[in-house]
């Protein structure tokens, strides 16, 4: 299949390219990038007034399969991914069963192949069953395709287990990813501890519940020399701890979600669970600190923590309703809305180049000869309507928000997978 992306502003941070160019794709590979490429039986994607970027990679999503397909399947999750401009996602291991054996990874790979939309990189568990007790088989998981390790959704509470895990896995490719929430401090919290929780009478999680585990995990990373990634950072103090770690040359990276950049804990006044998420939405000071940390480079990656649930589950009482919501399809709009003045090359680095580097996967570049994973976006105002999501999870606190930036097209392996006007373009496997 030949594809010609015509007349877009091509921005490739990996090579310092920012210019209006045509991009020719053939056989799933980028064949040429130049000012004008002659059409020779290509499928044309008009990218006039749009940005053409290396494919976005979301290194933190929950695809719910195997085991929780009422919430999401790999097919619906990867459809949501390409609709959100992501050519690849890394899926967290809190599935049923957990991703702690090569067999589960093989099953995921099979489903991904059947879906034929976005690429999926499995993240293996740190401990068997994510129970925080026995180490998972890192070599086997890595050989099967795991790109990182995490018990996301849970914190490995036992420091001895965590240290041993990191020591054992030190030379296995792929970082550890921390879900930094201290269970005891968090308790049965449904929201952030602060002035709003005080008057709403809701059980609340202090910032310290995150900070104390960020600090602990950074010390374990330094002690074991294991590359480490901090997921969904939400507090100003956590950022300070990460800056301190880097001043000591500890290999620490971190990510931020769109909701922690944009939303606050005042969303709980109606006692609905649509904004219930872990870590909880914090206050305005924290989100301002997060935005500053994106600008100053402390934050490496934009990740969504896409965590779909059914409407029925989220409609329950706050104490019962699960944490999280769908994020893939609003992410790019939300990030741009949060930090509208962020330079485009930095925006793309956060969404593509850095996640590829951290996970050690192909991508994050538009170099000629590279795999043709391409994201095309433009400044096209749109209003979020969760009912139209491809994700099974029709829940987001951004419902009704108007964003300025929107995905125009997503090309995966040289094949047009999504176009704003045509929707998901079903792969041949579906035909």
């Amino acid at each position: 299949m030949r594809v010609l992306i015509r007349g877009g502003r091509v921005i490739d941070p990996s090579r310092g390219l920012d210019a209006v160019r045509d991009v020719a794709i053939d056989g799933g590979i980028i064949r040429a990038i130049s000012e004008q490429i002659e059409e020779r039986g290509h499928e044309i994607i008009d990218a006039t007034n749009c940005v053409v970027a290396p494919g976005f990679i979301d290194m933190h999503v929950h695809l719910r399969e195997p085991g929780q397909t009422h919430k999401e399947t790999i097919a619906t999750g990867t459809a949501a991914a390409v609709a959100g401009g992501f050519t690849a996602v890394a899926c967290m291991p809190n599935t049923t069963p957990a991703i702690d054996t090569p067999a589960v990874i093989a099953e995921i790979a099979q489903r991904v192949a059947q879906a034929g939309l976005a690429r999926v990189y499995p993240i293996g568990a740190i401990t068997q069953g994510r129970k925080g007790e026995q180490l998972a088989p890192y070599h086997e998981l890595a050989m099967a395709g795991a790109v990182a390790f995490s018990d996301d959704g849970s914190t490995v509470e036992n420091v001895r287990v965590l240290r041993n895990a990191a020591l054992y896995a030190r030379d296995v490719k792929g970082p550890f990813i921390s879900h930094c929430i201290d269970d005891e401090l968090h308790g049965d919290a449904v929201m952030n501890e602060g002035k709003h929780s005080a008057m709403l009478g809701l059980p609340a999680s202090p910032r310290l519940a995150e900070d104390v585990i960020v600090a602990r995990d950074i010390l374990v990373a330094a002690d074991t020399h294991k590359p480490w990634h901090i997921a969904h950072i939400s507090t100003a103090t956590s950022l300070d701890i990460i800056r301190w770690a880097r001043s000591r040359s500890t290999a620490i990276t971190c990510e931020v979600t769109p909701h922690h950049l944009l939303l606050h804990d005042d969303l709980f006044v109606d006692y609905h669970a649509r904004a219930k998420v872990a870590p909880p939405l914090r206050g305005a000071d924290d989100s301002a600190a997060l935005r500053a940390a994106v600008r100053d480079g402390t934050i490496d990656v934009f990740a969504t923590d896409h965590a779909p649930h059914t409407m029925e589950e989220k409609a329950q009482l706050l104490s019962i309703a699960p944490v999280g919501f769908s994020g893939l399809e609003v992410a790019v709009g939300a990030y741009a809305h949060a930090i509208p003045d962020l330079p485009l090359d930095r925006f793309i680095t956060l969404l593509s180049t850095r996640p590829a580097q951290i996970l050690g996967v192909e991508g994050g570049t538009l170099a000629v000869g590279a795999r043709a994973d391409v994201t095309i976006f433009g400044e096209r105002p749109w209003t979020v309507d969760a009912r139209t999501f491809y994700s099974k999870g029709k829940n987001t606190p951004f419902d009704g928000f108007t964003f300025e930036r929107r995905i125009v097209a997503t090309v995966v392996g040289g094949r047009l997978a999504y176009h704003a006007e045509r929707g998901i373009i079903e792969p041949l496997a579906y035909a």
């Binding site: 602060g194 008057m199 009482l317």
Partner: protein, 308 residues
């Protein structure tokens, strides 16, 4: 008197305007002098739906409802599946179809009455939700204060103890702020986080410094569970800082009153002596509760304009 259309529900005290609060208190005083006939809410089906154990509040509501002539149904589902969110809307639809017009609800989770009110086509009265709100308790506390001092503006009230877990304190903070009462919260940081500081509300850790300057002191129940939750070292330690006992009764101004929403723990937040003190208004509060609830139900169902 300025009036507005009848509030559909009473989820917290700020669902009423200042004038409506004054009206409820005035009417409750009238009822105390002379009970109305049973025509006020004659035949109005009211469901008392208590998901959480309650003796005083449930009894007080039931008596109030009977005295205004309502058809009272009492249902105590405990913490059964009815408490799960997916059935809130279905439950509400069913209850309205049966003919229930008013639901008086208590629930262990903050926000439940609000969610129920969204789905129920009738009046919802919050009889206490989680640690969130207890508006009729605040109304009876305000009625007790008004009966004593004849005014609200400028009164100085200290609320002492476990503010963090107290729905009574929260509703009183909201109501007292609306009415211009000077509020000081007193307690240790584990039971009274700094986050409670807000416009018009002071936080003070030193009970003895506050005590000489109050018109009323509201003592809150301290539960033994707080020790297990490592929020307190021991009840005896707590009493040193925050118990109202012999020494502090001497410092409490003569014209001040002692309030307690009950149930109280003798020897913990207050002593036998404090309960027996002539300034204690515990029994008056309980008595006022019935009349205030009669007046509040009348206002919700019949509208404030009717009685203004």
């Amino acid at each position: 008197m300025q009036t507005r259309s009848a509030p559909r529900s009473l989820l917290d005290i700020d669902d009423l305007s200042r004038d409506e609060i004054a009206l409820v208190i005035r009417r409750s005083g009238e009822f105390r002098t002379q009970l109305p006939d049973r025509s006020l809410l004659a035949g109005v089906p009211i469901l008392n739906l208590f998901f959480e154990a309650s003796t005083r509040t449930a009894t007080s509501f039931t008596l109030a409802e009977q005295r205004v002539g309502a058809d009272v149904i009492t249902f105590a589902p405990g913490t059964s599946s009815l408490g799960k969110g997916e059935t809130i809307a279905d439950t509400a639809i069913t209850l309205r179809a049966i003919g229930v017009r008013v639901i008086v609800v208590r629930h262990h989770e903050s926000g439940f009455p609000r969610r129920l009110a969204e789905a129920f086509d009738g009046h919802v009265v919050n009889a206490g939700d989680g640690t969130r709100a207890h508006p009729t308790q605040a109304l009876l506390d305000l009625a007790t204060l008004h009966a004593e001092f004849g005014r609200f503006e400028g009164l100085r009230v200290a609320i002492v103890g476990d503010i963090l877990h107290s729905r009574v304190a929260r509703s009183n903070i909201v109501g007292m702020k609306m009415l211009g009462i000077d509020i000081t919260l007193v307690g240790p940081p584990t039971l009274l986080p700094d986050a409670f500081a807000q416009e018009g509300v002071r936080i003070e850790r030193d009970f003895d410094a506050v005590l000489p300057h109050v018109d009323a002191v509201m003592m809150l129940r301290i539960q033994r569970e707080r020790i297990a939750a490592s929020l307190l070292p021991a009840l005896a330690d707590y009493t040193i800082g925050y118990q109202l006992g012999t020494q502090r009764l001497r410092v409490l101004p003569k014209g001040a009153i002692i309030l307690h929403p009950g149930p109280y723990n003798r020897g913990v937040e207050l002593t036998d002596e404090a309960l027996a003190d002539p300034r204690s208004r515990y029994e008056t509060q309980v008595t006022n509760g019935v009349f205030v609830r009669m007046a509040a139900l009348d206002m919700l169902v019949n509208g404030s304009a009717v009685r203004a």
